[in-house]
Symmetry: C2
Subunit: 176 residues, 2 copies
């Protein structure tokens, strides 16, 4: 597939999508997040063909999201444990789930979340680490970053930024 | 492909992944979020084959994420505008980008965000709508929801909940 192509793009969405931009991969990760770690349990829960499951797990291991551990020697049986890099994808799973709950769940959310920190049912929000306000398409401006040379879309972004002209007090933080 | 299969699962991750679980689809959405709306601009920015781009745009239209608008009659030229449903996927793009920035950006983030609400550079966080605390794998419990009959993974989730036994004051909110 095009994985190397996405990895080579100067874009964090492309690079991440090259790693997890596949429905079965997301579902394997979902089960790992839920604590379903053994090959046989994963196969049964997902109803996935064995070659597909083996392929997705191999890729998750080679991408460093998951570690394989043999928990039984005879017969040989493996389980799969998330690495720190893999666990950090939980935020992606949360927003993917939240969108589905809002737009594709006519009978209500199939699963619910409890935030153990406060003990209450939680609906995930994506917020600004500075002020805590919600980040939405209409209140976020995308700007070129340090790793963005030749980034797809960056030329357009830079042009739009220039068109906006001076004015926003925080813009100087973004000048090259 | 397996799209109908994912749509039929009682899982919001599966349903969403069936719609956007494809790298090119995510990159088309990225460009639409950036304001790149015209077919020719999309093709040029993405470096994507025309049949692939047409396929992804057709699916985005039929899934109700995007509307096609003819902005020029001779020669016929189309642009693509996000619907409310499509704009709401911005949160997914933000977490996908944030993961890539953390794990796949050795030269620094290719793009940066400014939260116009507060004017500061923003790193997206996924937080609890009740208390504002960060949601992570180690402080969230997943529980069966109303739309979860026969949900993949739900049996395991319910069993784990039962094993936890009584104890957490908020658990009564989750009893059937």
């Amino acid at each position: 597939v095009d994985r190397n192509r996405f990895a080579a793009m100067h874009c964090s969405i492309a690079r991440t999508a090259g790693v997890v931009g596949d429905p079965w991969t997301l579902l394997v990760l979902r089960d790992l997040f839920l604590g379903i770690n053994r090959y046989e349990e994963l196969r049964r829960d997902l109803g996935i063909a064995t070659n597909m499951l083996a392929d997705r797990l191999d890729r998750l291991v080679s991408d460093g999201l998951v570690e394989r551990r043999r928990y039984e020697q005879r017969p040989p049986r493996d389980e799969f444990l998330l690495t720190a890099r893999g666990r950090d994808l939980f935020t992606v799973a949360l927003t993917v789930m939240a969108w589905g709950d809002r737009h594709e769940a006519p009978d209500g959310p199939p699963m619910r979340l409890r935030h153990d920190g406060c003990g209450h049912p939680a609906t995930p929000r994506v917020t600004c680490d500075h002020c805590g306000g919600e980040l939405r398409l209409d209140n976020v401006t995308v700007l070129p970053g340090p790793g963005g040379r030749d980034a797809p879309g960056t030329t357009v972004v830079a042009e739009r930024l220039l068109r906006r002209g001076p004015g926003h007090p925080a813009d100087e933080q973004w000048s090259p």
